[in-house]
């Protein structure tokens, strides 16, 4: 491929690509996101390929392994174009039937369709599935349309037109103005207005004129994986956003800092960068405009703290990921002391969209203070686990019930945790809260990178607080005292409470420590670290008190405070639990109710797990 030298050449190429593509040609799109990968989508793709070859259809039917479609709960997912038939839970065994019935004859295979558990209606296409119906997939929706390893797929849906528009029709200041006007705020956690960030970076003095842009892809919030899915499924949208940003702030070098645990994202990003260079969309003299921009990929070393901008930059410079005080913002003095603009993956991916469709259009979506859409990962005790993109301002209830399909096994909703380890747990009374940056902060949580973990009545809130504090204790860099020692002591107290050693005054001491962390920690990891504890105390104080005063875990989670008992009426005496018990704590004659010797029981739960009659109960 000859490098593109002008905007006209880019458009000519696009026309050529489109003319070679027939929209009526059958195309099977298989979700190749990490979730579906784990479900075995690769085997499905392999089986499809060989079946198509066997039937001599390889030329007539196109097979596309795309990025994540979002509905991870139902993987492996498949969409058959042009009819857009949506199949879920596809296995290699279904492949020959799909080819024979659907691809050749056009018949729909009923058992592969999604059935709405509420009204038992079958959904034929993605749009009919309630999970997708309520979403507005502006940034994420293209994932299902493109093969991330093929730049021509991205060009076919209008890719790099925003870059071309910016390079030839807009001054850098105009680009910044447009981003400012759009109201875009950083999707990585803090929610800082992106345009303002760009502005200060552009205007920051730099003796040698060097500036950097960085894409933060060190997505570390447990339970959040939208950045990975974007990088895996649509890496060019991120690259395009970065080049536009570099042009706006006046940078010629950029870095993408990718979490090491994301091998597929690293792979697809590497391919995308290579192709963008080859096509003249990256590197020297981009599209013949005279603008140069190069991107390097850096693999993270496995440290949550490196999601913090100064720690990330320290790590890019080859040092340990220790944050520094941010009295001088990184936009002024960042990487190697130069003005640096850092945005996260999702923020970058929003940029081409804003340039193409305009700030006026973009700012119509969302709420007063939070514009556009946000991708959330809806996980935990929820029927429809997956990635959902919704306009800002949608309520938690709509996300949990309309899109997420509610709580499995008819259990009761208890709380939703947003914002990752720095966020908070929100109770049922706040379920009608419109979701945007400011509203979430108001109630003691935060947007974070967009993780939403749903919890039901079987989740212990003290245990959850302990979980997050333990996570953060391990991830704290250990530099400043409040974060290193304060978190460690909070963990001690929480462990005592969950293990039945809680005492009066513990809650107040936790609150005191929480306040200290907020006020005196060096970086954002520390200042937000107490949110999970403070929010659970605020909304679930009674649960803490039950642990401390009554030595009771109402949710039946904390091992030291529960006992396993066999319900004699339900027990059939099958002996399964007896064989599973590693402690030989269960005894009983065949076909007669068994009993657990509490002095031997270590509460591992193997018996409850093995029982087919739900005869083992937690008290």
């Amino acid at each position: 491929m000859r490098s593109l030298r002008s905007a006209v050449e880019l458009e000519q190429l696009r026309v050529k690509i489109l003319s070679q593509r027939k929209p009526e040609k059958p195309c099977i799109s298989i979700c190749g996101g990490t979730g579906c990968h784990a479900y075995g989508c690769e085997d499905v793709a392999k089986a499809l390929k060989s079946e198509m070859k066997r039937q001599g259809l390889s030329k007539q039917v196109e097979l596309k392994v795309t990025g994540c479609h979002g509905f991870c709960e139902r993987g492996p997912l498949m969409v058959l174009h042009p009819q857009k038939i949506f199949y879920q839970r596809v296995s290699p065994g279904d492949v020959s039937e799909i080819i024979a019935e659907t691809v050749i004859k056009g018949n729909i295979i009923d058992r592969l369709l999604y059935i709405d558990p509420v009204n038992e209606e079958k959904a034929q296409s993605e749009e009919d599935v309630p999970f997708y119906k309520r979403q507005q997939r502006l940034v994420f929706g293209n994932n299902g349309l493109i093969d991330p390893t093929n730049i021509e797929d991205y060009l076919a849906i209008g890719g790099y037109s925003a870059l071309s528009k910016v390079l030839f029709n807009m001054q850098p200041e105009e680009v910044i103005e447009e981003i400012k006007k759009s109201g875009l705020r950083g999707r990585g956690g803090g929610g800082f207005p992106t345009g303002r960030k760009w502005d200060s970076c552009r205007n920051a003095p730099s003796s040698d004129g060097i500036r950097y842009v960085i894409c933060n892809a060190d997505e570390g919030d447990p339970g959040a994986y939208m950045d990975r899915s974007l990088l895996e499924g649509n890496p060019h949208s991120v690259v395009e956003g970065m080049v536009i940003g570099a042009y706006a702030v006046g940078a010629h070098d950029g870095y993408v800092y990718v979490r090491l645990e994301y091998p597929l994202a690293l792979n697809n990003l590497g391919i995308a960068l290579g192709q963008a260079r080859e096509y003249g969309l990256l590197g020297q003299n981009i599209l013949g405009s005279g603008f140069d921009f190069n991107v390097k990929v850096s693999r993270g070393g496995g440290a949550f703290i490196c999601g913090e901008s100064t720690a990330l930059m320290a790590s890019l410079e080859g040092r340990v990921g220790e944050p520094r005080p941010k009295h001088i913002h990184t936009a002024l003095q960042g990487l190697y002391g130069k003005p640096t603009n850092l945005n996260n993956v999702e923020t970058w991916a929003n940029v081409p969209l804003i340039i193409n469709r305009g700030a006026d259009w973009y700012s119509q979506i969302g709420t007063e203070g939070s514009k556009g859409t946000k991708i959330f990962s809806l996980v935990g005790k929820i029927n429809n686990t997956g990635l959902v993109e919704v306009p800002m301002g949608i309520t938690l209830r709509e996300i949990i019930y309309d899109i997420g399909g509610g709580i499995p096994r008819g259990k009761k909703f208890k709380a939703i945790q947003t914002g990752g380890p720095s966020g908070g747990c929100l109770p049922e009374s706040l379920i009608d809260l419109p979701v945007d940056f400011d509203r979430l902060t108001d109630v003691g949580s935060m947007m974070g990178s967009g993780g939403m973990i749903v919890m039901d009545e079987g989740t212990c809130m003290v245990d959850i607080a302990r979980y997050f504090v333990k996570f953060l204790t391990e991830e704290s860099c250990g530099k400043c005292v409040p974060c290193r020692e304060g978190l460690d002591r909070m963990l001690d107290i929480l462990t005592d409470i969950t293990e039945g050693r809680g005492k009066e005054g513990d809650i107040e001491l936790l609150e005191e420590l929480g306040g200290l962390l907020k006020e005196t920690s060096l970086c954002a990891l520390g200042t937000t670290a107490s949110n999970p504890v403070l929010s659970t105390i605020k909304y679930f104080r009674g649960e803490y008190e039950a642990h401390i005063r009554e030595k009771r875990c109402p949710a039946g989670v904390c091992k030291a405070l529960i006992t396993f008992i066999i319900d004699a009426e339900k027990c059939t005496g099958c002996g399964l639990c007896l064989r599973e018990c590693p402690q030989e704590a269960i005894s009983g004659e065949k076909k007669k109710p068994h009993v657990i010797d509490q002095s031997k029981c270590i509460r591992c739960g193997l018996c409850r797990d093995s029982c087919k009659f739900e005869a083992i109960i937690v008290a």
Partner: protein
């Protein structure tokens, strides 16, 4: 060792001997040796002309690095929030019992290394157990033993060695 020095040198040279490439260099050394042997760290330090403690600092700060040799199979339990609320702690306890080791350690026979990870982003499958990169989703306590047993190795004399089950 001389050979190792050359191996490390090739990696350092690949990054132009730049100080800011320390992390990338250590990552490549680790993928070569599956851990970071002491002499390789010394080699990196001397070739980059950096104090050894600085290299050690980086190697012990990031979770991706291991200074201890690792087992033949790596068993990873995801402890992400979604997995946690779906029962990952109990799964981890069961894996610990089955292998008889704590996370971060390797069995005495060097067969298994147990690790935890703070989210693999495959939350729909939680709780997840990963063995050598292969995901085993929707783990239950009973499934743990079954999955681990698949990685039992045929010994030289042809008999299967049973996994040590501590009680």
């Amino acid at each position: 060792m001389v050979n190792d020095y050359e191996k490390v040198k090739a990696i350092v040279d690949r990054y132009g001997g730049k100080h800011d490439s320390v992390i990338a260099i250590l990552q490549d050394v680790q993928s070569e040796y599956h851990y970071l042997p002491e002499h390789t760290l010394r080699a990196v330090a001397s070739q980059l002309d950096l104090p050894l403690i600085q290299i050690c600092g980086v190697a012990t700060f990031f979770k991706a690095f291991s200074l201890k040799p690792r087992g033949e199979h790596t068993v990873t339990v995801c402890l992400g929030t979604a997995c946690h609320v779906r029962g990952a702690p109990a799964v981890l306890d069961e894996v610990k019992r089955q292998l008889g080791i704590e996370p971060g350690n390797t069995t005495a026979d060097m067969r298994f290394t147990l690790e935890t990870v703070n989210c693999l982003g495959a939350c729909a499958l939680g709780p997840i157990l990963v063995v050598d990169g292969k995901y085993h989703g929707q783990m239950s306590l009973g499934k743990v033993k079954k999955v681990l047993n698949r990685y039992k190795k045929v010994q030289k004399d042809g008999r299967h060695e049973e996994l040590k089950v501590s009680s």
